[in-house]
């Protein structure tokens, strides 16, 4: 085989069929880009924590010590225990309230550390400098309230004298050992009179790969210290699980979109490439007529598809990486791991897969074309095969619709294989649109269910110093404030639960709290003293079910609590209890609310309400309005973007099909024009051809998308360690379903518009003259 003529034939073909070449290249750019992006995100979804943990020598165990019960020597001795490979501490710690202006920032645990580095929990300074002297604080990036930056002054609450700290830096601890760090000499002044003096010790172990191993390590440390010295412990596995709970739920969605993207790309590429070869039959006949061998023809037509495909693959890899940068940068920043990128194997794998796919799609029709005789190829290239679609034309011609519409609707039946390929690609695109729409709604509901931002958009923190008087002031202000619909006092405790090693956050409401936005998965909302609702995580951790009773310890007394409902909540890995005031008040007479949750009348702006209430209450009362969840915005943006890319691939598939059809039917279109079909009628006819296929795809895609959502969402919830309220699966409104059924038609019509307009503008006389 001589390469010269083949190369010249390829180059000539590329120049002659610029639209086709551009479509092959574009489809490959978009589909490769989508696949690289999806695979890159999938690959990096689990990596950041492990990267950061290794880089920062994260603490596998953080224990809190009652400093009065263990001497520094005893603590230092734990570093030499068998199994311990590194230890840091003791770092005195204190939990305090902070205020920024009139806004209460909530309780924050500050640790006194002389420097960020160390053998364990090597804290990464993201900005500013370390707290070198009293009066300075470095805040954890994860605890950083809006508006607080380096140089901001924050006030410590709950201490006898007014104390102001200046934020001098922002740092990150992968294991979240503290919410902030101060000079060790500062801790004593921050501790409230009579408060327990505590310190933290950080450890890394030889064996800490499982919960059991970490539990054994904890037991060894506890045994080496005086009884009761260890007041709390925290495993890095819990931190990792909590970290993954933010990312894990989107992994199934990314996987689904990646698979849809790959199948769509395969279909579209096969359709485009085989269509390009079929459209070139006449040229193939000419090449064979001038002496090309079957092998040369096959090579020329494989090359014709392969060259733009290879360029498209390359462009797609670049596009996928460029798109992944901003998405991964946020994750990388959050974990302090510098930068995350799409792994090389993902780039190479996707590019290789796409090239193979294109090669197979091109070689089969090219080899078939090579076997045709010159006369056959010329005959096949002159006009599409007739004999198909007669019945459709006849049947549709009887409909009371304009003739261009019925002719357009019947056209897909003349090329059933190509129509099937286009239909499948649009079907997948429309399925992605249906899935994405449902997923966006579910995720919005999930976030509302987790943040309660819709039900209780405003919170008022109760100043700890004057709790009784402050409660009366807040209640009066809430009653008087226009826009108040409900309010309820809430106390947040950490209590021991029989059977659990660590203390569990307990939310206690004083008054009716059924409106606070906890979605029920099963059972009912508590209504009597001694009843509680818990999330799925609690049931899993304690091995209990709705109807069982657990014992919590409040005020040093055991309190039996009957679980009456399972609520949707993933905070603290779902290990929380929600109950009423009467359940714990008798056991803990000192129970006092920490905050008030406020529900607003419809149409009331939470921000304006919070501002007005804050002004009314004056300084010292923290009034906050919950804002939009930034993670939700990222995930919704990602869903929207991937859906758009998939819709573009589907649209390009349609574009290519319509380009082929209008070329093949150039003569028929010219005849239509000659007998008086106007350009708008021509556009309508071509659009109907595509839209009919798209509509059929949309109608099939609707139940497919709904079914996929119903499969995917429970998997996503399970990955986040929670059940899901049944209502979360009924996401589609009637009007939405009707609109989504049209998604395929819209994608197809968008893809067909440009070639339809071109067909309507091209001079009829050229095609007629070719006769």
């Amino acid at each position: 085989m001589t390469p010269g003529p083949v190369v010249r034939a390829v180059l000539g073909g590329l120049a002659h069929r610029r639209a086709q070449t551009a479509v092959v290249g574009l489809v490959l750019v978009v589909s490769t880009g989508t696949s690289v992006l999806a695979l890159g995100l999938l690959a990096d979804s689990s990596a950041p924590f492990d990267h950061a943990f290794a880089a920062q020598h994260g603490a596998q165990l953080t224990i809190t010590i009652d400093a009065s019960m263990a001497t520094p020597a005893e603590l230092a001795a734990t570093a030499r225990l068998p199994g311990v490979i590194a230890a840091a501490g003791p770092f005195a710690e204190v939990t305090i309230g902070l205020e920024h202006g009139v806004e209460a920032l909530g309780p924050v645990t500050l640790a006194g550390r002389p420097a960020p580095g160390g053998p364990v929990d090597d804290v990464v300074l993201q900005s500013g400098h370390w707290a070198a002297k009293p009066g300075q604080v470095v805040l954890s990036a994860g605890e950083l309230p809006p508006g607080v930056t380096d140089g901001t002054q924050i006030t410590v609450t709950g201490v006898p004298r007014r104390l102001v700290l200046t934020v001098v830096g922002v740092a990150d601890s992968v294991t979240g050992s503290a919410g902030g760090w101060v000079d060790p000499a500062e801790i004593a002044s921050l501790r409230a009179p009579g408060a327990l003096a505590t310190a933290q010790m950080l450890y890394r172990f030889r064996s800490a790969g499982s919960t059991a191993a970490v539990r054994a390590d904890t037991a060894a440390i506890s045994a080496a210290l005086p009884a009761g010295a260890v007041t709390a412990s925290r495993s890095y596995l819990a931190v990792r699980a909590q970290s993954a709970s933010g990312i894990a739920p989107i992994v199934p969605f990314l996987a689904a979109f990646g698979v849809i993207g790959l199948i769509m790309s395969a279909l579209t590429v096969a359709n485009v490439v085989s269509g390009a070869v079929v459209a070139g039959y006449r040229r193939i006949g000419i090449l064979k007529g001038i002496g090309f061998t079957p092998g040369q023809v096959a090579a020329a037509y494989t090359g014709l598809a392969a060259m733009p495909a290879a360029a498209g693959c390359l462009g797609g890899v670049v596009l996928g990486n460029l798109l992944a940068v901003p998405l991964l940068a946020r994750t990388a920043r959050a974990y302090g791991v510098g930068s995350l990128g799409v792994p090389a194997w993902a780039n190479l794998g996707v590019a290789a897969a796409m090239c193979c796919l294109t090669g197979i799609a091109a070689v089969v029709p090219a080899a078939r074309a090579g076997r045709l005789t010159a006369a056959q190829a010329l005959a096949a290239g002159r006009a599409p095969r007739t004999g198909r679609g007669y019945a459709a034309h006849r049947l549709l011609g009887t409909l009371p619709l304009p003739r261009p519409v019925t002719i357009g609707l019947a056209a897909p039946f003349t090329r059933p294989a190509r129509t099937a390929g286009t239909l499948a690609a649009v079907l997948l695109g429309a399925t992605a649109v249906t899935l994405a729409t449902g997923l966006s709604t579910v995720l919005s509901w999930v976030v509302d269910g987790l943040t309660h931002a819709a039900a209780e958009p405003v919170q008022v923190a109760v100043p700890p110093a004057s709790a009784g008087a402050a409660q009366r002031v807040i209640a009066a202000a809430l009653r008087a404030q226009p826009g108040t619909l409900h309010y309820v006092a809430e106390a947040d405790l950490r209590l021991s639960v029989t059977g659990l090693a660590q203390q569990v956050p307990v939310t206690v409401f004083r008054g009716d709290a059924a409106w606070t936005g906890y979605d029920l998965i099963s059972g009912r909302w508590y209504s009597r003293p001694g009843q509680a609702d818990v999330p799925s995580g609690f049931l899993t951790a304690t091995g209990t079910r709705v109807g069982d009773t657990v014992t919590v310890t409040a005020g040093g007394k055991p309190v039996p609590v009957r679980i009456v409902g399972q609520v949707f909540d993933t905070g603290s890995a779902g290990l929380t209890i929600i109950t009423g005031w009467q359940t714990l008040a008798s056991a803990d007479p000192g129970l006092a609310p920490d905050q008030y949750d406020v529900g607003l009348r419809p149409g009331t702006s939470a921000a304006a309400y919070a501002q007005a209430l804050s002004t009314k209450l004056g300084p010292g009362y923290g009034v906050g309005a919950k804002d939009q969840n930034s993670r939700l915005a990222i995930v919704l943006g990602l869903i929207g973007f991937l859906t758009l890319l998939l819709a573009v691939v589907a649209g390009l598939g349609v574009f290519n099909t319509v380009v082929l059809q209008t070329r093949e039917r150039a003569h028929d279109l010219a005849v239509f024009r000659a007998v008086g079909m106007t350009p708008p009628q021509t556009i309508a006819m071509v659009l109907c051809t595509a839209a009919a296929t798209g509509l059929a795809a949309g109608v099939i895609a609707l139940p497919a998308g709904v079914a996929l959502l119903r499969c995917l969402v429970p998997v996503m919830a399970a990955d986040a360690g929670t059940g899901l309220p049944a209502s979360f699966l009924n996401v589609y409104q009637g009007w939405e379903l009707a609109a989504l059924a049209l998604a395929g038609a819209v994608i197809a019509a968008a893809g067909a518009l440009a070639p339809a307009s071109l067909a309507a503008r091209s001079p009829a006389v050229t095609a007629l003259r070719a006769e």
Partner: protein, 199 residues
Amino acid sequence: MGPSGSGKSTLLNLIAGLDRPTAGTVTVAGQRIDMLSETGAARFRRCRIGVVFQFFNLLDDLTVADNVLLPAQLAGTSRAKARARADELLAALRIERHRDDYPARLSGGERQRVAIARALVNRPVLLLADEPTGALDTEAGEEIGELLLDLNSSGQTLVLVTHNPEMAARYASRTVRLLDGQIRGDAEQVRGGTAPARR
């Protein structure tokens, strides 16, 4: 009339509004059609002009009746009216028995009759025929020639393009001779004569 490449078909396409002149104007039935938009030209064509092509240009996936009905349907003629007119033409052109057949099943002469019926369905003021017998055997060519003559005799204005002087002499009442895009002769004549009279 003129040899291949003389510009006959181009002239016909200009008259039909299918092509646009690079210079000069085209006025048909008092209307400047070179000034019309594509949509305007299409409307002019379907209401005022009928075109018959050498290779019939029927649409293979439409039946004979549907091919004939098409210009009427595009013009928005009511279904009943269009069907009545199509039936009338199919009967007049003696192809009513092929009403529901597809063009591929018809002979060349029958196909050209269908094309003529299609061209006449909107009652055009001007019928253009580009070598209407060029793709037919002698017998079918004779038949189509007679048919066009009958139409012309019944009042249908007809512009026919041919390279065949015999055909021009036999069927035309006026012959314009073209060569290399230039008019080289324009003569009225008595049909059936042998030599067109020069003007």
